[in-house]
Symmetry: none
Subunit: 144 residues, 4 copies
């Protein structure tokens, strides 16, 4: 199952609303459960460098079914996944990417946000996911 | 000067309307005048392979300030620009990419569409550009 | 708005003068506000490996509207942006890249310098930017 | 032996003069005999897509010690080098790249030009090389 365009746009609209409340300029990307881009916006004055980061946060989060910040705790020097960022044509492992899981616990995609401090990036991504209904992740969410 | 998000979304909405009229499923990308992604949608059931093609049509069209189909006439075997597709990390030189030029003749971005036969791709891209007001290109449109 | 070739060459000339004063051999790159290369020189005997570093310092600095060294403080192990270098086909996050901002506070491009110790690289980049008039960055410089 | 920065800049100045005479906006790249970038300019209003093409014309011409247009005759469908453009991270095999050979017949670098019709691109590249003294190529020029 994949996130529909209708849902992707709903998530982006909610994320953007949150970005405006935080007075930030964000790039917001949604990928489906194949980690393929579904929808994207770059708000005016957002960093050009955030385009790729937002997309990579979404793909990273989808690739492993977890928030990017969680993965980043495991990829620090001395930790089990040190250097994982070199895989998959580049991962981004700091906060701002969150999986989208449907009401049956199935991973249907992910959202990635970049453009401010990572706390804001993550808050905006969460706002996008929340509008679709599910933020609690099952232990190993996966797609059908 | 760069296309704003408001304009990019207006162009995508018009392109999508045209895509629905043609009963097609399209990927639609808008880049700014630096050829950096501004907005993107993939309609449900559109080919995953069209994501990259739509984006590359937009960047190709921006890179050279002309419709991708025009460039493609020059890149055929035996023609002056044969093999140009090998530059810039890959160009797409068949129809479906159109520059966005403002009322002063300045290139502000480009739109790229992929998902159907190239005539439809081009028609959908044109529909997107038309809503922003300008479809006639100056001889050498460029950004300020 | 983009840096003109006249300005880019003025910046490179000033940077090169500084490089000679410091008795260094530098690669010096200028990109416009779309992070696309505008002008470049490699001084005789400069490291070949510095070509790509100088260009990446310029693009990195343009992508995020800040000096590369600032970004590098945030990308250390345990810091919020650890691993950001994996985005955008490779960033360089140690000193030597500086944004070029015009008198209205608009980002018009960036300069990147590589070839010596990072203190020298940064000093040469700053010398290049200074001749264009603005070295104080607004909080979120951006292009129009 | 490698082209010096002094010579590279002399070649670029001559090429640029020719570009202005032809009323064109060009990207002009010079590489050394290792095919590594030595100097580059993008004239105002030149296509952004020409940056990479100018550099690839210079590297292609250096890689094989011949004008890019010569190579392009051999890479057409049915010809011996069909598809050679897929090597070396992308070659450009239409006119506009010319080797720089010193008075002893040694290849010291190459110049690549992009931004207009290929006849103009080649003429501008030739004007750049001519100012360094040698345009007649030995059968297999090479570097020491």
């Amino acid at each position: 199952m994949h996130v529909t365009l209708e849902h992707a746009e709903k998530a982006i609209a909610a994320a953007r609303k949150k970005a405006l409340e935080l007075n930030t300029q964000m790039c917001i990307a949604v990928v489906d459960s194949g980690a393929n881009l579904k929808a994207f916006i770059r708000m005016d004055d957002a960093w050009v460098g955030s385009i790729d980061i937002a997309i990579k946060k979404a793909t990273t989060s989808c690739f492993f079914g977890m928030a990017t910040g969680q993965l980043g705790q495991l990829s620090q020097p001395g930790k089990p996944l040190y250097g994982i960022e070199h895989s998959n044509d580049g991962l981004i492992t700091f906060p701002g990417g969150v999986p989208i899981v449907d009401e049956d616990g199935v991973l249907v995609g992910a959202i990635g946000v970049s453009g401010s401090v990572v706390e804001n990036d993550h808050a905006v991504a969460e706002a996008g996911v929340k509008v679709l209904g599910v933020t609690e992740l099952p232990e190993h969410p996966w797609r059908t």
